[in-house]
Point group: C2
DNA sequence: CGGCTCCTTGAGGTTAATCAATCCTGGTGG
DNA sequence: CCACCAGGATTGATTAACCTCAAGGAGCCG
């Protein structure tokens, strides 16, 4: 089998990266490519859940909507990550997903995927590992929400630094009001808190780039 | 094969309930029975994660500990439920677990379990489903923590009613300070909030039993 | 009757949301 | 080149939620 654009996209995900070529081909046969413009719903909280998705290009946001119209961002999905797996065996999606930019997705129907797991147990193990990771991330999210805003912000900045491979510096990839939503707060509070961190000599801010001045202090703050 | 106390215990979990007898026997061979007294640690946040557990009898609490000594209850585990699955493929436990009462547990080593999943893909699918359910529950926890305390309490009471099969009434199974921790608040606030619900004519309280007076009002409150 | 633990009640302080105004900053058109 | 916007970002003032600290009950078991 020769690599195709589709199998290359599938290998983006750690879920599928290590699969043998023939397993990957079987998977590619199930995958339904979807191209969506920016700010478009992928699925809606409450929709019957019969598929999960791999994001190949673009950006997607997973969010909870409340009756009163407020929304809270649960997760930002990046290329190579899957989303909606949580509902592989549930009735309805517990959250909504929408594109932030134009995006290329692959859709996997649950029934097809179940059959494939039975045929390829190794794939099941990989999915289990991916879900275990998600559980850990969600656990962290729960933990974080019990902390005051400055601690949440400190964690976010430290996480961003380590993600970007630059321990002393990081850049916001999204506008600040998105960061505020991700931290479960509002832009005003984010702005004030960033100001306090800066005045406290913990960080230096320059537009959307931040430099860690006092890493130990920032880490202490992150523990609340 | 004949039923044994061990296989009976294993069938308590929806994860294993539907397994064929020989699959269950293979599983029972892996399961290490553990008996623990009350208020004893099962595993500690940060421990190397090489096993998950099924609770057969008693009660277990999963909690996050903070540097400053505060703890937050993530989840109450009941007989028949598994815990620690989130870390089947992770390095370390992201949370601690401890018994609340004397408890009978079964311990499953990750390596053994992985081999079994490869041999019995159906088991992998079941585990995936169980983890999907956990993800949904955790999602709800995240959602709830963004709501004010009265809404969280209303949700808790309504959930309790439906769990106990008595739509108009429920009993607290744990002391109130445990409920407060579960809701991410403190006993004082819980007490005051219960008082407000009662004075608002939404519920009637009598010790640890609560009667729903105005269900519509309670459900409206639960939406924030 | 102590000595528990759990729960409740009160007063005060802190955090962070809300409302409202102002300030940039980049783009547009005169 | 310069007004003039429109959006996001900041700042200030106010308010509400909720935590903390502290002081009582209320039940329970020795």
């Amino acid at each position: 089998m020769t690599p195709t654009p589709v199998t290359d996209d599938l290998r983006l995900s750690p879920l599928f990266a290590g699969l043998a070529d023939d397993q990957l081909a079987a998977l590619a046969a199930l995958a339904l490519p979807v191209e969506l413009p920016a700010e478009t719903g992928v699925f809606l909280q409450g929709d019957p859940a019969d598929a999960f998705y791999l994001l190949a290009a673009g950006a997607v946001r997973v969010l909870k909507s409340f009756r009163d119209g407020r929304t809270a961002t649960i997760r930002h999905v990046r290329p190579g990550e899957t989303f909606g797996e949580s509902v592989l065996f549930n009735d309805a999606y517990p959250a909504s997903a929408e594109t932030m930019t134009a995006a290329r997705l692959y859709r996997f129907g649950s029934d097809d995927f179940r059959r494939l797991v039975l045929a390829e147990p190794e794939l099941g193990l990989r999915l289990i590992a991916a879900m275990a990771h998600l559980l850990v991330v969600l656990n962290q999210r729960v933990e974080e929400l019990l902390l005051p805003v400055p601690a949440r912000l400190a964690r976010y900045l430290l996480e961003l630094c380590s993600e970007q491979g630059t321990p002393g510096q990081c850049r916001l990839a999204v506008p600040k009001h998105e960061v505020a939503a991700r931290l479960g707060t509002v832009p005003e509070t984010l702005s004030r808190t960033l100001g306090r961190l800066e005045r406290g000599g913990l960080i230096a801010a320059d537009g959307t780039t931040f430099t860690v001045i006092n890493r130990a202090g920032l880490e202490r703050l992150a523990q609340q």
